[in-house]
Each structure stands twice: as C-alpha cells, then as structure tokens.
Amino acid sequence: MSKASQKRAATSNKIDRRSFVSDLFKHRGNAIVATGLGSPTWDSFAAGDAVENLYSWGGMGLSVSTALGLALAQPSRRVLAMTGDGEMMMGIGSLGVVADQAPENLAILVLDNEHFSETGKQRGLSSGRADLCAIARGFGITQTMFVTEHGQVGDLADFLFKQKGPLFAVAKIAISEDPWSLPEKDGAIIAHRVRTALGVVKG
C-alpha cells in the first residue's frame, strides 16, 4: 500500500471534544458513565465530577467489557461506555460479547479522533479504512449512529440515553490540546463512589 493511500484526510474530524462531552452529559440523567483510559476520562471529569462516573486510568481495551458487566448487573440503570478509538480497537471483540448478551441499557460512544492522542498523536486504525460503526453492525449491534457535527449532540443524547440498547455511536472529534483535567485515580475510591451511588453499598 502506498503512503498516500494510507493517509486519508480527516475532513470530518472537527468536533471539539470537551464542549461536546459537556453538552452531551447535560442529558445523561442518572446514567453510569464508564470511561476508557486517557482523554475520555479527562473529558468526563472536565464536564463535571459525578459519583456516577467510573473513571479509568488503565486496563486498555476493557472499557466496553467493564460497562457490559455493570449493565448486566444493573438492568434498570442506563450505562454508557465512553472511550477513544484506540481503546475501542484494542477491545474490539468485546462488541461481539455485547451483541451476544444484548443488554437493553448499554450504550457505547467512541470519541474518534483517529489518533493516539495521549502518546504523541500517532495515527490510529480508524484513520484508514476501519469503519467502527460498520464493525459494530458486523458484530450484531444493529443500532449505530455516526456523528460529525456538534449540532447533533441532542440527537446523540436521545440515541444513547433513551433508545433501547445495545447502542453504538461514533463521534468524529478533532485532535486537540486540552488542559489536563484529572479525576481521582485511586480505583478503590472510584469504585466505592459508584457502588454507593447504585446503592450496592451504604456510603
């Protein structure tokens, strides 16, 4: 493959991730949000700390399977896995597990800037030919949404927080330099907050 054909202009990647996530989360209600490591965790914290946020600082590839476990344990609660394109690719098979279990309360949002933004903005696989929505449908997640404009945030919120799942969405976000926004990093504290919010343990 030639260098030129590997490089595809990311014309659709223009959404500002921080304001987009912030606006999206205005519609989240009491949904649990399980983030993938790195920028989606920083984005979720920047939108406002919440006890329903299951922040992650590691375990690359496991955000969807973690959210799946939560969704199956809490069938009456909406659960959103929000992650990046690289993290999604590493756990891509978990979309097959989600399709097989088919939890109606689980939604997945990939913030796709087509690059590994935490590690020096190296090009990722979704910048070439990999179409994440098509992959999700191929695994059997029939409901997908592809977002390229900030103005679609209301429709995306309806999709992720109100439709019957499992749901899968991709938002094409811009590569950006955002101020650090780092939440609690002690996993025991993070998990305890969510468990308390769910009433699994008494605070």
């Binding site: 992650s56 590839g61 973690t66 476990g69 344990a73 978990s94 597990v97 996993g187 998990a191």
Partner: protein
C-alpha cells in the same frame, strides 16, 4: 444439575458457586470445563458470558462487582497469558476477580504448543499479585474453589484455582 451421572469435581464447584451467589460465568471454553459450563448454561438463574478473548472477563467481573453481582471467569491455562495486563483492572478497582483455570501443557500433554503457558501460569499470575490455588486431586477441587472464592470476595483480591491436567486428563488426539 445432572445427578444421574457419576460424581465429578464440576458438581462440587457448581454447588460452591450456587451457595455463594456467583451468578455469572465468563468464559472462553476448555474441554475440561465442558460439564461445568453445561450446568451453568442450563441454570435459568445464571448467566454464561461467552467472551472473544479471556481478558474481557476481567472487565466483565469488575463491572459485575461494581454493579453488585458476583461473577467469575473460567478458562484454559493458555488463556491466562492473555489476561496479565488486564488483571490490573480489578486490582486497581479493588474488585474481586475469581478464576477457574483448567490446565494444559502440564501433565502428559500431547500438544507441545500448550506447554509454554502450562509451565508459566502460576508464576505469571503470582507475579501480578494473583493468589493461586493449585489442586491435583479431583475430590479436593470443590473445597479449593470454595477457599479461593471466599478469599477473593471477602478480601477483594484476584484468586485463581488451577485444576491440574492430572485431573482433567491429557487430550490424545487419537494418538500417543
């Protein structure tokens, strides 16, 4: 539970699972797990989660525990190699992670491709902080599983029961 068949270590493990409300089993199957997975699949109050790769099980059991359920992972020894980094997730969240591992590449193995992980399961698991419970007598699998489960759920730690190939038997592929 198939009671007509002769007693099998899987029956003991299943009983200990039920008595501890372990209701979800994540798996990439192994021949040695066939009977246990059938029992889980046939129990309407339990959920079998078929994975695409074993490390997803670390995510699912962590999410299950955060959501208030007890879950575990059942896999073959070779699958343990897929889980090493992923074990950091339940570790970081201080979530219990209970694993039942049926061993290959350990006792009379026919297929040499199983030997690398077969010989490395316990040392690699221990290197990432997983408490290992090897067992090589069929009649001791149930109590070993019970001990590992109690330490995992009470201590919020990762624990693995390693069921010896000596119990499972070597797969011969019709040859010696």
């Amino acid at each position: 539970m198939p009671s007509a068949k002769s007693k099998h270590w899987s029956d003991d493990v299943f009983r200990e699972m039920k008595s501890r409300n372990i209701s979800t089993v994540c798996t990439i199957p192994d021949g040695g797990l066939t009977r246990l997975l059938e029992m889980v699949g046939e129990d309407a109050s339990m959920r079998l989660v078929t994975l695409s790769t074993e490390e997803e099980g670390m995510g699912v059991v962590t999410g299950q525990w955060i959501g208030g359920n007890r879950a575990m992972i059942a896999m073959q020894s070779s699958g343990v190699g897929n889980c090493i980094n992923a074990l950091g997730l339940p570790g970081a969240f201080k979530a219990p992670c209970l694993m039942l591992v049926t061993m290959r590449g350990q006792w009379g193995e026919f297929n040499p491709w199983q030997n690398a992980m077969g010989g490395a399961v316990q040392s690699t698991l221990e290197a990432v902080g997983v408490k290992c419970f090897p067992v090589d007598k069929a009649e001791e699998v149930g109590e070993t599983f019970a001990a590992a489960a109690d330490m995992a759920f009470n201590g919020k730690l990762s624990a693995a029961v390693l069921v010896s190939q000596r119990i499972i038997g070597a797969k011969g592929f019709g040859q010696k």
